[in-house]
């Protein structure tokens, strides 16, 4: 016979903790109707972090200076940590027995949901930093809004990640300014990097049915609503970097968020997923 809860328990603090845990229960995670969209949206967040993190990790041991090498690897580590959290929650929502590792290592390119911006080759250090900055500015704005998500699980991941992304944005802003407002050569290269990546930034603000479903539930903001904060950060930093802010309008490279990628993602995955493809289930 199950015992009744002990009404005379004196440990008030413990009871309070338990109550807080109960509140932590997230109704969105079990919402069957929402499942496909919520899963896809979580993969978008997780894949952005994973692919951005992987590209940065490619610099490990090859950075232009020891401090930069360490900073790039640390930033990559943070992002891969975020990917674990987002994809872990995605797997829980999907409820098909997969986990974060399976999603990261055993999906093919067309199942990845990152924006195309992040899968482009790392280029030189100026290109890497420009791309990271354009993403960090968006990432910071997105996570700030997600801390108010109606999904406690989403909000807690965002709150954790935001603290780290604050440091990412600080560093990439500083370096974009330093290089943009640096030598003639570094200025020229940063200008070229900006021109290269700019047409890919539009995808960060697009929305489709997946977004509409999570927006309707109050889980995530409308990506378009992040634009003002992004414009402000990007405009301010580029001006200080003596770089010209490109025209907002123009061609937008898009499709990554629904699985249409550039040829670069396949090569990235071939390297990143090699071990699990060659030795399925390998662990240590």
């Amino acid at each position: 016979m199950p015992s009744l809860p002990d009404m005379n328990a004196t440990n008030v603090e413990e009871l309070a903790l338990r109550a807080a845990e109960q509140q932590h229960h997230d109704p969105h995670v079990q919402n069957v109707d929402l499942k496909p969209a919520f899963f896809d949206w979580l993969c978008r967040m997780g894949d952005n972090a994973l692919i951005a993190g992987h590209r940065l990790s490619e610099w490990c041991g090859k950075g232009p200076a020891l401090e930069e090498d360490i900073a790039l690897a640390n930033t990559a580590l943070d992002l891969i940590g975020h990917a674990q959290l987002w994809l872990g929650l995605a797997a829980e929502v999907e409820d098909e027995g997969r986990d974060a590792d399976k999603l990261a290592y055993l999906r093919d390119a067309m199942r990845f949901r990152n924006v195309q911006l992040l899968e482009l080759p790392r280029g030189d250090i100026g290109e890497t930093l420009m791309r990271e900055f354009l993403f960090d500015a968006w990432h910071h704005a997105m996570l700030s809004r997600l801390t108010e998500s109606t999904s406690p699980r989403v909000a807690e991941i965002a709150a954790k990640a935001l603290k780290e992304v604050h440091y990412h944005l600080e560093r990439s802003s500083d370096l974009v300014i330093r290089l943009g407002d640096g030598s003639e050569e570094s200025h020229r290269r940063m200008g070229a990097a900006l021109a290269l990546y700019w047409p890919y930034t539009g995808e960060l603000f697009e929305s489709d049915g997946v977004d509409k479903a999570v927006i309707a539930e109050g889980i995530a903001p409308d990506p378009e609503d992040l634009r003002a904060a992004w414009d402000e950060t990007v405009g301010e930093v580029l001006r200080e970097a003596t770089l010209e802010v490109p025209e907002a309008k123009g061609h937008v490279h898009t499709g990554g968020r629904s699985g249409r990628h550039t040829e670069h993602l396949g090569f990235l995955l071939a390297e990143m997923q090699f071990l699990q493809r060659a030795y399925p289930g390998a662990s240590w």
Binding site: E14, L17, H24, G53, E67, E68, I70, A71, N74, T75, A76, L77, D78, L79, I80, G81, H82, Q84, L85, P152, A155, E156, I157, A159, K160, A161, K163, E164, H166, Y167, E170, R171, S173, D174, I177, R178, E236
Partner: protein, 173 residues
Amino acid sequence: MLGTLPSEAEIWDWLSEVEDPEIPVISVVDLGIVREVRWEGDTLVVAVTPTYSGCPAVAVINFAIESHLQEKGVENIRLERRLSPPWTTQWLSDEGREKLREYGIAPPIEGTGTPDQRAQRVARLEGRSSLDVACPRCGSLHTERVSQFGSTPCKAAWRCRDCLEPFDYFKCI
């Protein structure tokens, strides 16, 4: 097997003997990453929060906690990852801060975790620091930041301009 279940206070005492693998002078309790200890029947639940999301020490820390408690005779242990509220350097105990300093790591200076971004950037680009971080070796405040990112995710690289020694600063988060 223990005859009666040890009290939570006893568990906390045992946990304060578990060293952080990266900074072996402070314990996981000093670091503030053990958030809760409770019994669920005869299973001990220990809630641990990560310092940084990608911190590679998490698995090692969990293993260290589990094996130390097992050595003490606790048979059933469940480790819970707790994300909320996110870890902050404010949870470092005073004792932990002192141990860090003695070990050669400057402890975090609070209130600087989320500064006014623009003012901070101007200061950084002019080579000034808004922080007065004392050199853990000679105590001098004549120090400078080399990089916001250091040997582990939780540290920044600094240098003393008086004794010329490089040192780690445990950065605020």
